[in-house]
């Protein structure tokens, strides 16, 4: 009996300590993330004016957003961006992981170099990319038009929105493949060597080994990375805005609505809410169907 009370006491104490330790962090997060999300939903029902007086307008912001053709264009652009960057990053990351899993001279150096795109600040690499694709002075046009003759004439890749989205996609793959490759590589290195030896004995070729041993082993980690990539790329702003602000994905579209021109923060808020809902819907679907959690 006495013992039971003591035990309960201990559990309570532990509980109190647990809450006490997490509280500062949890409070900050609640105050600066959860509250703003709720506040954002609240704002989306108001017409926010520059003088700071908000008037309730019900669903008008949502109506304005949904009936705007530019919004749907932005949704489409976002989809294209997310699908191609995620697929590209994952496939390229997987290839690099397979390559880096082999032994070759200078592998340590190569691994360090591959980190560069991932750790450097976006802002510091963006101008170099802009310059590479400059129509008149850039090396890309010089190589493809003058040296290799791939295209008949010089053109402005970043300047035209339909072409710029591909530059932005390649840029995203460039920046994020190191993360994907490192994650997959760490899984690859944990694969039991015996499996491959057994396959050799069975006379399996390289492709079969990849298909039946490697792929199942990295399936789960790849699935998780794909999910993270989709979420992050769906909300991506800086990488796109700074390199080519004419590629209007949802986040860039929202930014322009809320922080330039007439600064329609209310509409911006409703856009953010819609973006948020789209994302949540997708995650639930993905987790159920692909990851089968």
């Amino acid at each position: 009996m006495n013992n039971a009370i003591k035990k309960l006491d201990r559990a309570q104490r532990e509980s109190a300590l647990g809450w006490g330790l997490i509280l500062p962090a949890a409070l900050i997060i609640a105050l600066l993330v959860l509250y703003p999300i709720v506040y954002n939903i609240y704002l989306s029902f108001f017409d926010t004016s520059l003088s700071g007086r908000n008037t309730f307008i019900g669903l008008s912001n949502y109506q304005n957003v949904v009936f705007d053709i530019d919004f749907w264009k932005a949704v489409l652009t976002t989809l294209i961006y997310v699908v191609f960057t995620t697929a590209g990053t994952t496939v390229f990351g997987l290839i690099v992981a397979l390559v880096m899993n082999q032994r070759f001279p200078l592998r340590g150096l190569v691994r360090s170099l591959l980190l560069l795109p991932y750790v450097a600040p976006v802002i510091s690499v963006v101008y170099s990319w802009k310059f590479i694709f400059d129509p008149v002075n850039g090396i890309f046009m010089d190589l493809t038009v003058e040296k290799m003759g791939l295209f008949a004439e010089r053109f402005n890749l970043i300047g035209s929105p339909s072409a710029a989205i591909w530059v932005v996609i390649v840029f995203s793959i460039w920046r994020n493949f190191p993360f994907t490759y490192l994650m997959i590589l760490s899984r690859l290195q944990a694969i039991d060597r015996n499996l491959y030896e057994a396959a050799d004995i069975d006379g399996c070729g390289g492709w079969a080994k990849f298909r039946y041993i490697t792929l199942p082993e990295v399936y789960f980690v790849t699935g998780s990375i794909v999910l993270l990539r989709i979420i992050w790329n769906f909300n991506k702003f800086e990488d796109i805005y700074l390199l080519a602000d004419n590629v209007e994905v949802l986040s860039v579209y929202t930014y322009f609505k809320a922080f330039t021109g007439a600064m329609e923060m209310g509409q911006g808020s409703s856009l953010a809410v819609i973006q948020f809902l789209l994302l949540i819907g997708f995650i639930i679907y993905y987790v159920k169907k692909v990851l089968k959690w």
């Binding site: 002075n137 004439e153 053109f155 402005n156 330039t260 600064m263």
Partner: protein, 462 residues
Amino acid sequence: MKKSVFSLLLIVFTLLLPVSIAAGGQQSASDKGDQGVVEFDFWTTQTQSDRLATIQVLIDTYTTLYPNVKINLVPVDENDMVSNVQTASMSGSLPAMIEGSADMHVSFGAEGVVDTAATTALIEKVGKSDFYAGPLKMLESSQGGSYYGVPYHGWIQGIWYRADWFEEAGLEPPVTWENILKAAEHFYKPAENQYGILVGTKAETYAEQCFTPFAMSNNAGLFDKDGNLVFNSPEMKEAVEFYARLAEYNPPGPQTWRARDYYLQGKMAMFFYSTYIMDDLALAEVAQGSLTSENFENLKGASFDPDLVKNTRMAPIVSHKSDAGYGTVVAFSFLNQEDKRVTEAASRFVEYLFTQNAYITWLHMAPGGMNPMLKGIAENARFQNDPNGIFKNYGPEKMAEIIDGLNNIESFGIVEGNVIEAASSITAQQIIPKMIYSITQEGVSVDNAMNEAEMEMKKLLQ
């Protein structure tokens, strides 16, 4: 590992310490505000660091003489000014004074953000009759008699071109529509990475600056003299179509003033630019000095032409049905403040900037680009003896022509002597640049783009 972590923490703390002390120091400085020191923000569209440094010297000199004033200089890009003022007005932190184009001030004035009384009082104090009349007119409110800004300096725009190339090809200087188009066509050789002309096609202010003289020279305006919107006219359509044709001889893709680099590299025959380029050209000449004779050999004709500066000329007028020049008057205005003392302090500072000594120092930041608004200064010997020798280079007549051009700037905002404030709002919202972008880059038909722009304008005017 342990040791390195320890030293890392140590570094963190030693770094934090001085900054927090500095932050504390800042605190006490702003506390002083209650004890008689007036502090205010000054937003300028001069974003170049060397210019900022010079303005800072003027501020420092002034505040050393009058230690109870503190002025914070903030550079703001001209394309961001409107949204930044809106943000500031929202958070209740409007700067006491801003420096920017006349259009900007007039649109702020129309919105009621400008302290018109303070602005007008300052003009009277400096001496209304000492100003050139043209620039002053651009800043007048539509009621007349009161002003939204105090004109301080200005530039005119023109087509800068390679006189040697033109001569060699036997082409007339690019003044009339026909001659401009002919030359643009002639020099457009994309296969050799050479382009005919640079006109603005990106949705930025620069596009409107290039477009305006074409509209004006075709007698096309935004408003009639009674303030009715007449944008969608056959004349305007003609000008837009012509502009779109010219844009075909641009370097690829949407372009803005940045592409003038291509001209300095000898890859372009003509470009629209303000008289600011005079200073840049003088600097380019200096940059040449870093070339050794051995490198000259490889570079000649390739990416740098040593004769470039010598062979550059300017055509300040576009002429078709009539002649049109374009330029911008840059002015100060005082934005509404809760504390009247702040506006008074800002006003006294601007008054100081109009004293001969300070004025010439300011103008000499960019000789050619910054031209005086007071007749007395233009004739001043010290002003004419600028450090980069631009007056000497171009001669006093050319400079007089530029200053005279300023007096005759044409803009959408003044029709037959009437000030149309709404035109400035249209400029501030960049409706015309957006239209030009959609036509030249997105392939929208001229009619559709103009209808769209007209709709935007009507929405704005409501």
